[in-house]
Symmetry: C2
Subunit: 563 residues, 2 copies
Amino acid sequence: MSATWKELAAAKKAEQQASIPSAWLLSADKLPPAEQKDVTGVPESCGLLSAREVEITNTDVGPLLKKMAAAEWSASDVTLAFCKRAIVAQQLTNCLTEIFIDRAVARAKELDEYLAKTGQVVGPLHGLPISLKDQFSIKGLDTVMGYTTGIGKPAEKNCTLVDVLLAAGAVLYVRTNVPQTLMWPETFNYIYGRTTNPHNRDLASGGSSGGEGSLVALKGSPLGVGTDIGGSIRIPSACCGLYGLRPSFHRVTYRGAKNSMLGQDTIPSVAGPLCNSLEGVTVFMRAVLGQKPWLQDPLAMRKSWDEEAYQLVEHGGGKKLCFGFMWDDGDYKPLPPITRAMKLVKEALIAAGHSVIDWEPLHHKELVDLASNIWGSDNGQDFRASLAATGEPLIKTMIPEGVEIVAHDVPPIIQSKDTDAYGLWQLHKRKTELREFYLDHWNASVAKTGTGRPVDALISPAAPYPAPPHGMYRLASYTTVFNVLDYPTCVVPVTRVHPALDAKIPAHEFRNIEDKIVYEMYSPEVFANAPLCVQVVGRTQEDEAVLGISEIVDAAVKAYSKN
Amino acid sequence: MSATWKELAAAKKAEQQASIPSAWLLSADKLPPAEQKDVTGVPESCGLLSAREVEITNTDVGPLLKKMAAAEWSASDVTLAFCKRAIVAQQLTNCLTEIFIDRAVARAKELDEYLAKTGQVVGPLHGLPISLKDQFSIKGLDTVMGYTTGIGKPAEKNCTLVDVLLAAGAVLYVRTNVPQTLMWPETFNYIYGRTTNPHNRDLASGGSSGGEGSLVALKGSPLGVGTDIGGSIRIPSACCGLYGLRPSFHRVTYRGAKNSMLGQDTIPSVAGPLCNSLEGVTVFMRAVLGQKPWLQDPLAMRKSWDEEAYQLVEHGGGKKLCFGFMWDDGDYKPLPPITRAMKLVKEALIAAGHSVIDWEPLHHKELVDLASNIWGSDNGQDFRASLAATGEPLIKTMIPEGVEIVAHDVPPIIQSKDTDAYGLWQLHKRKTELREFYLDHWNASVAKTGTGRPVDALISPAAPYPAPPHGMYRLASYTTVFNVLDYPTCVVPVTRVHPALDAKIPAHEFRNIEDKIVYEMYSPEVFANAPLCVQVVGRTQEDEAVLGISEIVDAAVKAYSKN
């Protein structure tokens, strides 16, 4: 008799547990009590990592790569340190899926030998441990991707991004958790369960790259790779206080990665980095594009890293930028701490000599509904096909058992409906029109900026809330709008929720039921310690410029926050 | 009572006739007799053009631009010369739709004044008359696009390409004929009728940019802009003996141009040039990309002209190239003259120091069927919607009345069928897989080339036949395969059908009914004087390299043909 989906899930989870070196399992007294919400200090205090391993894992990507290239730190030592810290992170937030430390150790040894022998690094990522969302296939490992139907089907070959990262010198060691279907802004599935937020374990880690969010926030990974179809890199980045880039369509190779809704090419998912430093994000993009992935992946855009764009040649060299501030999308009013973070960024940019204008959202509701309708145009056939072989049920809510609240019949960011091909063409046609209107709207801002250019970038919340309690991340509208527009967007951390600064405010006139739910879920205590971030948004294929501008935003915020 | 579609069509045709300066209408004795098939000599012999106008219109784009920039020839004189020759072309092959000579003359005068005043050209296309397929909207003019429903609806603004060309200094003066629906490889509609081939008026001009093909071949335009979804630039180029580039998706702005099947974004139509010189093709691409169309069109790729790619840096500087020769796609055996042209190119390339290997077509039938199924996935709803307002019937065959042969229920390159969105996703998924297989196939050729690189480009027929008799262009498979793959492809003229060299050969074992039809339609007499061309094919977004390599092919063929 074949195993039930529950048995399959349990066996896979047990296999995962067995893949952890037993010496790295923390005893009950080293683990924080369940009521301890903020666990970000635990990796350093738990005693598993040596002082040197703590130092290594607290080092950002840029300096880390330099130390390894100079053979000051070996790839083996760096790899081992991050492996340990990742396993601690797993025990704190349940962020991992596949764990393959032996492979990582062997790979790091090879890199060390190569460097010792040749005096050369293998590539720009020499020795860097990189964690991957549970979509990026690695030969010989399952890619479960949140479905029991993915169990026991080891990949026959690496996806192209894995080959590209290895060619650039990276070390792969863990993959990270995702929600079933990938189409949720939180992270829960029936195999691995729920990933929590290390800043406050009562809060969501975000999704769908939520495993990456938690792991990178705990510095169990110096650099993680997620994917983003409607916010799935930016949402966990914003929930967990990270830098995270949603590149433009087809700039980062996706070939051979497992995915939901294959063939849904209208608003495709894109791969991109999550990191504790902006430099790490840029390092990733340079390294990936440097490998010319278009030679292997027919969908990867033939467009090298554009250093001029990064140096902001088309943005006055970055000297006096003008930002469009989108305070509110008009549909879901941001909570007080979100607005405070936006204000802080505004003040920081003005203090740094830049200017800002208010940005009027244009057709945002329609853009987001369009995405929902496009993703739902198969009326759920893709999800059903992915579940059929084991009979695993579709997850209808991410609210923990026992908590009473509105459930969803389908992932809340999808509106499923039978649609014929002609109907889908009409949605495509409207999408193009809306993208045209939006670009015209952007260009028209030249009349207001005073720079002789339209706005150089937008600053927007990533959501109306910081990381909410589990099950309450019900909207992806602030992120999805930029997927539909194909605008590259980088999340930049700003500050945190602070009860003294972020009191609840009186109710406004609610615009719709979700707007009311957003308002009502807020209290400074519930959201305590949650990171606050913003999105920096550029125009299609301005990825390099968005990174250059994000550096300016980041530096301004850091300088302003110090004063 | 509202006009019938026939009345609308007749009125529009009469309006066109009235837009021709009466002095330019050739009297019966100046027009060739109906039985004269080759009319390419008529523009020079008919007496309408002065010797200087003949000289001007016989000049290629490169020298033409230089003479105008040097104020040796005025834009006004050049414009008038091409206007006259275009009107002669119209009287010979019925290639035009909108004719707006007054606008062109006024525009040319402005350009002359600007140059006289400033000593500067307006842009890289200063003074160049450019003809446009009947899709590129111009403010105040109808864009009929082969449908009576398009009559009497003047455009409210220019499409972006028109703005871009004007900003670069071009002069617009005529638009050119297309088939109803645009989805035919020939050119016939109920408003303007049929466009014939100037090399042999019994033969098709090709389609859907067939008006451009005839006009440019008669040198009634130094440079035309067509569009290509399955071969619609390359087919008329090959039929009429021109250089024609199908650029990669989204490199040339399409915003605001009228189109069939709006929202069919899977294998989209692209805009590109047709020209009597390869230099003109390159001039067009440089000029359009130089205007940064992505600042106006959200779908236009943010990718400047890549001079390094054009200089073939990734192809050994163009010194010793290796070409993959696709002699036969395995489904439709090319006719003798097509194979002779391929052999001539092979010999020419070897004589020029390059090498060739045989190219095995991979999944070509499936790739082409995939395109048919994708374009037909709306089951004809788009065409019906475009016809509904006037009741104009869908054209079911392009065979002239009175000729007996198999008819088509729909354009022959479309397989219409009800498809739901999920079904369309499955076609998309397969398309991506096939593109991956094809790129792998390309890369694997490194084992055979002897250059250390995979093949630098493919050489392929553009069709199994030269321009066939009207109604007989039933296949677009040799061109469509490269649309599905999104491979930039340039047509290069080689020679002509010559009865002494291109005798009919014994029948082979027919592979299918169309293969039999191809074989049976051939006789050297029927195809007399038809141009013979090849396609030069590169990988996705290698547009610049394809132009650089096409120059090498063109030079080799010219050198070899002289000997």
